[in-house]
Amino acid sequence: MFKKILVANRGEIALRIMKTLREMDISTVSVHSDADINAAHRLFSDQSVYIGKSAPKESYLNMAAIIKAAKETGAEAIHPGYGFLSENADFAALCEKKKIVFIGPPAHVIKNLGDKTIARQIMIKSNVPVTPGMSEPETDISSLMKKAEELGYPVLIKAAAGGGGKGMRIVFKETDMKDACEAAEREASQAFGNGSIYLEKYLLKPRHVEIQILADTHGHVIHLLERECSIQRRYQKIIEESPSSALSDELRQAMGKAAVSAAKAAGYVNAGTVEFLLDMNNQFYFLEVNTRLQVEHPVTEMITGIDLVKHQIRIAAGEKLTLSQKDISAKGHAIECRIYGEDPENAFFPSPGKILFMKEPKGPGIRNDCGIYSGYTVPVEYDPILSKLVVHAENRELAIQRMIQALKDYVILGIKTPIPFLIDIMNSDAFKKGDTTTDFIDTHFPAWKPDKKDTALAYIAFIADELSKTVTQNPQSVKNSDFPTPWETIGFYRP
């Protein structure tokens, strides 16, 4: 087993990985940029290496700097987390060349599956159903326009190298096509260093259901059931759960089997996710393979009781999978809410800035994978994810109740978060019914506004804060819990 591992990521996922490494008695090396000098992951690690300026290209995407950091610290392996270099085949190849273990699939597998068009070709060959669309990337706008015409609008522009909704655009009419393609190309090249795009037919009202897989270097592949990730904004998931309310046992087995054959067809190794779209008739279509740990992996960990990161590391060390398919079963229900730094009242606009105070929810069945703390300034340069709040309970109904209470108990002061919006989703009939399709927010919460029903209490709190604060500010006040006399608050005198 490894003695020291470098985590080439930041924020909550870097912390989550390092927590498992600590349990395994493996030393942790983190990396950080200028913007992350005070980031939680840097502070948590045993050792941290500065790898460059704040712009991702100069730090977290800077392969040479990360390899150098691993060499200098004597880290034997690199865990890439998600995003950044996690699905970068060149980086995996470079690690191999420099005799550092990349915790993920081999470079050629990442390359094949990372190119969504080649992945589609592999799936078609192994009889896994795919959505109608292109299987070759295209850069020429007029050819893309022609393809869109053939498929029929609406179409989905996707980055060939894509993931996490970056470089993705849905286009309803021809006149929007040119701008959308250009924006998608730019976003893709910024996020992945590769601006190639292609088109898929946009399915109406699909569900997004994915299967977690684990594959070792000895040819053993298992799946760890599904995650339902249909609730999205800007094509990025915000709520995930397992089990999916849409799957019968039969369908679950069929999708699990398809995912395992997809993994085998691709020569997959380590943890991965096979994503499917499920249409209204319960037909499923291959979407893509994510060749990394997913943001929403805790949902699977909660219902199966399996630490996916631990298995990733064992697999990377060449160990045989100790689990077989029959060992995998779901217990209860888990839900994850992503807590982003963004404003739900204002089209989910990013909301970076200083966290004046925060308090995490606690209690039975509550897990918060968190990358922030009181006093931390959320930087503008990176993804807005702050933490992932996950609950586990006996069944879906109880998990929803638990999530509502956990959200109400989660305090983040200073930046905007979608917490009140998530509470309203959890409380909605549509969510309770399990009516979760990818257009959920547009359908059920098109122009969400918070219901500020406790404004009267907030006014009282305002006055209570004003009046009791002067006590702590005034060292002469002896009775700490009492309000000051009018003489003590003369500066705050009111008629």
Partner: protein
């Protein structure tokens, strides 16, 4: 004491008196409320409320932010201002963020590209600056037609609400 507290554009008058020790008596909309206040920390207050129909304990979380208080109750943030302090405060220069007629980012961001140059004639709605914040792209457009008199931003700049990125002379 009289407070005039404001949320969004709505102001409410509240009378408050400290009756004993840590108890407040408040009058709001002709209703009397007693609040026993326990300060737990700089940002955490526990209140025991009695409005005549029974007692209720509640935890509130508070922080001062840009002249307002952020108050979180049961997961919901409230942004409350003291209307009196507002009135007496020096006529503070309002940040550009609240004025619709200037080209300023809605949140802290990084400039991806500037699409116009000094001297350009532009039309209302024309794209001026592409920004990126937390990996999301937004484009600022011209609030009115006119001529670009100055460009105050370049690629890679870190900008914030209130920074005016492009000066435009309005076409009459």
């Amino acid at each position: 004491m009289e407070y005039n507290l404001k949320q969004n554009d709505e102001t409410k008058k509240i009378l408050a008196a400290i009756t004993e020790g840590n108890t407040l008596t408040l009058t709001m909309e002709e209703k009397d409320i007693q609040a026993m206040v326990t300060r737990i920390s700089d940002h955490h207050i526990h209140m025991d409320l009695d409005d005549g129909n029974g007692r209720k304990g509640i935890n509130v979380y508070v922080a001062d932010d840009n002249g307002k208080k952020i108050i979180v109750i049961n997961g919901m943030p409230y942004y409350i201002e003291d209307d009196d302090s507002h009135r007496f405060a020096k006529n503070k220069k309002r940040s550009g963020a609240n004025i619709p007629d200037v080209v300023t980012p809605p949140m802290p961001a990084i400039v991806i590209s500037v699409l116009v140059n000094r001297g350009d004639r532009i039309e209302k709605g024309q794209k001026l600056v592409v920004l990126s914040a937390m990996k999301m792209e937004t484009t600022l457009t011209a609030p009115f037609g006119g001529t670009v008199t100055k460009v105050n931003a370049k690629e890679g700049d870190k900008v914030a609400p209130g920074d005016i990125l492009v000066d435009i002379e309005k076409e009459e």
